[in-house]
């Protein structure tokens, strides 16, 4: 069946059974490689996307439930930031989301496989809580359907990067 999605600000129509988890549609049909398959059980967070601004686990989210909703993937973060800041043209196209910039500045990823969900969660947190405490950061990554898991052990770097992103976003205000 044909289902219309709004992905990274663009309306996209896909042909897939309504019970197909969003992750497979994003990766196969829309060729978005940010969200990763980690468990298929909503237990790790590697597949996270924003649905209407809230973090969601795309590996268990049936396509039919997100029809017409605003979906943002890792690929869409720079545009999301540009729109929020009213940037356009060349400035927008050269801008990374401050969360992505902080992830580079703090050298967060090791293998990097889980970091999609870590960055998506950071964006969701910082849009609601611009200056989170360390406890609020830890809560953001350990509540929800499951804790966000990183096997390489980048949790400390993530905390530092969220704080860095928070200050980058504050400076841009």
């Amino acid at each position: 069946m044909a289902i219309a999605l709004i992905v990274n600000g663009t309306r996209r129509e896909v042909q897939a059974p309504g019970d197909t988890p969003l992750l497979y549609v994003l990766r196969a049909d829309l060729e978005l490689s940010g969200p990763q398959f980690g468990c298929g059980l909503s237990q790790c967070g590697a597949c996270s996307v924003l649905v209407d601004g809230k973090e969601a686990r795309s590996c268990v989210l049936p396509l039919s439930t997100v029809a017409g909703k605003q979906i943002t993937t890792l690929e869409g973060l720079p545009d999301r930031w540009a729109k929020q800041k009213g940037l356009s043209g060349a400035a927008a196209s050269q801008t990374l989301h401050p969360v992505q910039q902080a992830w580079i500045d703090e050298q967060v990823p090791m293998c990097g496989f889980c970091q999609n969900g870590m960055m998506i969660t950071a964006v969701a947190l910082l849009e609601q809580t611009p200056s989170p405490s360390v406890e609020q950061i830890k809560t953001a990554y350990t509540s929800g359907p499951s804790p966000h898991l990183c096997r390489c052990g980048t949790y400390s770097a993530i905390v530092e990067a969220v704080q860095k992103a928070s200050s980058l976003m504050a400076k841009a205000r």
């Binding site: 196969a28 398959f37 237990q43 889980c114």
Partner: protein
Amino acid sequence: MARTTSIHGATLTRRQFVKTGGTLVVGFALVGERLLARAVETATGKNSLDAALSNSWFEIHADNTILMRTGKVDFGQSTAHTAYKQLVAEELNVAYEAITSVVMGDTDRTPDGGFSAGFLEYGGQNIRKAAAYTYQALLDLAATRLRVDKSQLKVENGVVSAGGNRVTYGELVRGQQLKLTIPVQGDLTSMFGLTVTGNPPLKPTSQYTIIGKSFANTVTPSKVTAKEQWVTDVRLPNMLHARVVHPKTLGSTLVSAGTIDKAKFANAQVVVKGNLVGVVAPTEWEAIKASQAVAADTKWTEWKGLPGHTRLHTWLREKADWKSTQVSKSDKNKGDAGAALQSAATTFTASYELPYMKHAPIGPTVAVGDVRPDGTVFVHTHNQNPQALRGQIAMMLGTSVDNVVVRIYSGPGHYGRSNGGNAGAEDEAVILSKAVGRPVRVQWMRPDDLMWSTQSPAAYSNIRIGWDMDGRITAYDAEHYMPAMQDDRLVGAVIAGLPTSPPPAPEPPLPIGSTLNTIQDPWIYTHVANVAEAGYGTFQVGQKESPLAVGLRDHSMRTPGQLQQNYPRELALSEAAARAGIDPIEFRLRQTDDQRLIGVLKAVREASGWQTRTAPSPAASAAGSGAVTGQGVSAMLRSGTYWACVCHVSVVPGTGKVRVDKYTIAVDPGIVVNPLQLKRQIEGGALMGLSHALYEEVTFDEGAVTSRDWRSYPILTMADIPEIKVVILPHPEVGSYGGGSEAANALAVSAIAAAFFDATGKPARRLPLKAEYVQTVLNSGSGTR
């Protein structure tokens, strides 16, 4: 007309000819006739590029930029992307930024093969020497061009000058076809790959300008902006998605495969090969749903050949065959430990146990196999030893390695699991692709990855320590027991009944991959006069009993083998120090004159806020609802690096909850290549070690692994992160690059267990320190199950 020059054992041939541009192509030659035949076989394959080019390390371009190739695969250490570039830039005398691209792992586009581990100690020396040979060749060319003696040349940032004239590397190679042949030896598609030999002049460490500086990982931007090409992204034309219905247990054989209900799954298809049941479909979701339906309808034989995890160590002690495998002795053994124990003033005896642990990559293994009508095979994967995989796939199919190409992409780190060439899904993808005549992508689901991958082997050790009236150890006796650690068989091939490498046995074709339990933890307490360390090995649990020959397959995991031997040693030393009434750091200092060990112990004592006193803590308690706190220490020498670690923990006896509050580590790797990345690796290792100590144990019943998801195999979350302090002690005068990605995890487990003892006064002699076990220890005082 070609001219040939000998350069420190390498040969440079040049032709005055050029088609386009010009590059210095660095090839290699093999030492030894047998090996040469093998190299010709592998290097002239129709699926390789030009033989010389395909085996090249560097291309120096006319614009003075450099492309670098390595057969090692960086899976998160940043080694190939930063440290190797630093090594090469240093030896070539170019700027770090001049190396603009890195080709990594692809078997048809990289030279040396071998496992991706010990990046600096082993692989780094290959590329470093290759760079050093290349530098000498460039000097040779420059001396000719500038008409001066080599000794007159000055080189800076890829520009050679002498007598007022200058020439760039790019200009030196332009207009010429050059081939530098470097001496190497080894077997490309073996576990170890090729090793660059000879002794080209290396830059003295005192002249380093690039090594020792922090550089950001150049692959990071593409990973955080979704531009990286991940193994999960590989899509080939006409490709099918597959899921494998793995056997019901580790010893079940197929009775009958389920069938596809075409009304529900119009495009899906079942493929059966031996005991391997695969389901393929054009879309991933159809493959998943159809495979679930097929799995429900597939019949397997029953099998109960495992002891179950709760009885594992009893079984290992009482039933396992430790006699068929030769006992390994440490090369540091000396004196007569038995006699010295008899005459010691005080002795301490204890036994320690470790569970099976999973590598547990965040993404399950995935690969695309593409068996083409012309007999060539392409495998797209994320793997730590692509050339060994290439050899294994060729063996499985009964074809020449010339016909097999392995392409490497970024993927989830798996910490040693594929350093013998098998990540899990590759062979299954090839088997299914061959069966259906189309490219096939096999993605293991989370339960497949936990139940069917290899794991870090369980172990137990019996330790005896004797000391004199002054607290000086007079005897150390250790017996380490561990099933075989390196099963590199392709599991899909085993299940399908196809050829693959042999399972670990007492007499293997290779030293690695046997049932031998060699001593991996170097003895560092130099004053001890009598040392007796022995390693006892055995077959993998359930493997010989399994009709599938599978059982609990093991594989090296971060700090392999050494974790299993260092944990009992260091924890026993801390317990012995308590028995001797001596502070555990002071106790260790008394046993050694190794200055690098003394250096890291003193540094960690200083940095951690260590209280110099005997354990247990004066406030230790094994009961109550309030938290008690403790400190513990551990030390290790691994891959040329000295380490000492202190953990501070708090324990709530009433609930059995253990928390690590602070992790402090001092590290002396000799030459520090990249302090920023070293620190990041250590922090990551520290957190993995906390995860080992607090949570990780593979559970299994009598037939199958029952750790199937992140609930039944929990790992550390952000809620548990401690304060982490890393003290780096560079000692460039040592002259070697010690490893940095391992050890930090292994040091955590014994330091945490020692801190638990300090906090509670009760020794916990097995891991993990989960609440139920902790409460058993606190209530009974017995540290063993």
